[in-house]
Symmetry: C2
Subunit: 345 residues, 2 copies
């Protein structure tokens, strides 16, 4: 069943069938009705690739999750609590506007090829990148070829930066880290450690900066032994805090994300210390588990939903209106005070 068949059945030309399918105005009501009936009767749906080849735009939006495998060969982001709300918000926004999402995971450099192909072979009209390391050059090509892209958590360096030619959405990592650290300082802590995230990522860089700035503004000295490496996984948080506990013995720890806080809790329990009586901890992200922990985790909430919505909507609008659309958003974060911190005393 194709448009010729429908045309024959309705007693019109293929042009007319096409006109009613695309809802053009210049079709007599009765003609339209005949065509619609034939379409309905035979459950006809035009073949998408033929439509595209003839000039229609793709209504598929790519979502590319750049991810790294952890010790257990599991994807860090994809298996984290971050993935689900982000992805589902994107899907929701897209579906509501009659768009669909093509989703793919990028684990290694070579996987960027698949992502690029989806742009270049015109399967998708545009795409979103999340989880990429800061200044990921693999994305430059795509942007520079004029495709519509949105990136989350990318620094825009200067006017020549390719990321100026796309939509960039960042959360206020610096501000959140600053607020978290200041909160700890306000509670009287002086030995505040920081467990860094994956420093290839903008979020980790900014969170460390925010921590440092807060210390500085309060006149506290930055102790290098209190800043330890992590890579955003639970395991890395465990190791980092284990080390901290045996060496520099902080009274409070600000971890660059919640997953690492989970590891931190384990390390602290194993050392027979209590949270928050012996040590205060604060995370970042506010993943779902955070509020179920006992004590519930104090953390910095990032509105993943909001970030996702902006990504999807910007790109879809750009496609619908056939415009290029550059923009740079900084999404505010919020300190969620629960039970894992207390005044030093």
């Amino acid at each position: 069943m194709n448009s010729s068949d429908i045309a024959k059945i309705a007693g019109v030309s293929r042009s007319t069938v096409s006109r009613v399918i695309n809802n053009y105005g210049n079709v007599l009501p009765e003609t339209r009705k005949k065509v619609l009936e034939a379409i309905k009767k035979y459950n006809y749906v035009p073949m998408a690739s033929a439509q595209m080849l003839a000039g229609k735009k793709s209504r598929i939006l790519g979502l590319f999750i750049v991810d790294t495998k952890n010790e257990n060969d599991e994807n860090i982001i994809t298996s984290s609590s971050y993935f689900s709300p982000f992805t589902s918000a994107i899907i929701d926004k897209a579906n509501k506007q009659h768009y669909n999402i093509l989703i793919s995971v990028i684990n290694e450099a070579k996987d960027f090829k698949n992502a690029k192909d989806m742009f270049y072979n015109k399967t998708i009209f545009g795409g979103i990148f999340i989880g990429a390391r800061n200044n990921e050059t693999e994305i430059y090509d795509i942007i520079e070829k004029g495709y519509k892209v949105a990136v989350v958590e990318q620094e825009v360096k200067d006017e020549d930066d390719p990321f100026n030619k796309c939509v960039v959405i960042n959360s206020d990592s610096f501000g959140g880290a600053y607020e978290a650290t200041t909160y700890l300082i306000g509670l009287g802590h002086k030995k505040i450690a920081h467990v860094c995230g994956d420093m290839k990522q903008l979020t980790a860089i900014s969170r460390l900066e925010g921590y440092k700035k807060a210390l500085k503004d309060s006149g506290l000295e930055l102790e290098h032994s209190l800043v330890v490496n992590g890579n955003y996984t639970e395991e890395s948080g465990y190791r980092a805090v284990k080390k901290l506990l045996s060496e520099s013995k902080p009274t409070a720890i600000f971890l660059a994300n919640d997953s690492m806080s989970l590891g931190a809790i384990r390390a602290i329990q194993e050392a027979n210390l209590r949270i928050p009586e012996d040590i205060s901890i604060i995370g970042f992200d506010d993943i779902e588990v955070a509020r179920y922990l006992r004590p519930a985790l104090t953390t910095v909430r990032v509105s993943v939903f909001q970030m996702a919505s902006i990504c999807a909507n910007s790109l879809i609008r750009a496609n619908d209106k056939d415009i290029v659309f550059y923009d740079n958003y900084k999404i505010p974060v919020e300190l969620i005070i629960r039970e894992s911190c207390m005044e030093i005393g």
Copy 2:
């Protein structure tokens, strides 16, 4: 840049360009080399829709998540811990075989139209349905038109059931519920309540059956007041247990999933009862939070990863080999004993 351009540059015909792209054997090595160089130099990627129109198969697999909104207008499955591992496993399997995933959420009956369109307009070569209520007739159409589909958690009634013509993957809900209930009985409990899941879904139906059968096999009477409604959401678990606690006062509760167990814990805490000293609880699914709860939740683990892998692989194999592929899998589950149950004292 299209295949004619490349042909001109390489000094061959479009046919030859097509041959090297599709890796046909009958091309002289030097000819192939010239073409490959031109392709590389100009970064040429054939347009997917033109390829499809000319006869190539789609390499996009649909993943349709049938979901219902909860009280807060959030999708139940999509925002649950079930979504992320299932989806990421599917993506992983697909990407490894050079397939991509088109993902979409079905909230209302009318949203099935989008799913059907993706099949009928040939965007996807096949699709997976998860979360649908038992015997969802909307899926029948698609199967009966001969498209490749996989469904998870669907009962196959008899030989005429359309679901015989697709891949169906079920977890052993009955067995898991039977084991969980038997475990509670073994601990000496006699007043064991069950909070049902969404009874439109096969999992909920089977879990209730397993519970009943275990009672029966142990010679325990089924008390109707001990079986209460739920719909798989945390909130429904909270309400159900609240009711149970004020009325029939069970000593143990088997909940049809872990999300409801979260609500149960809240209700039990509010009633100033202790888990497991005053009341034992056991969930189903083994979502990520389960092991972080204190006491850690005893539950029945479902290998979402395995189910997802089978879905993706079956469909992809069917497409690659161009065969129709019917099958019916029952995936074993595993009782994970943690800290939320104890012997009745």
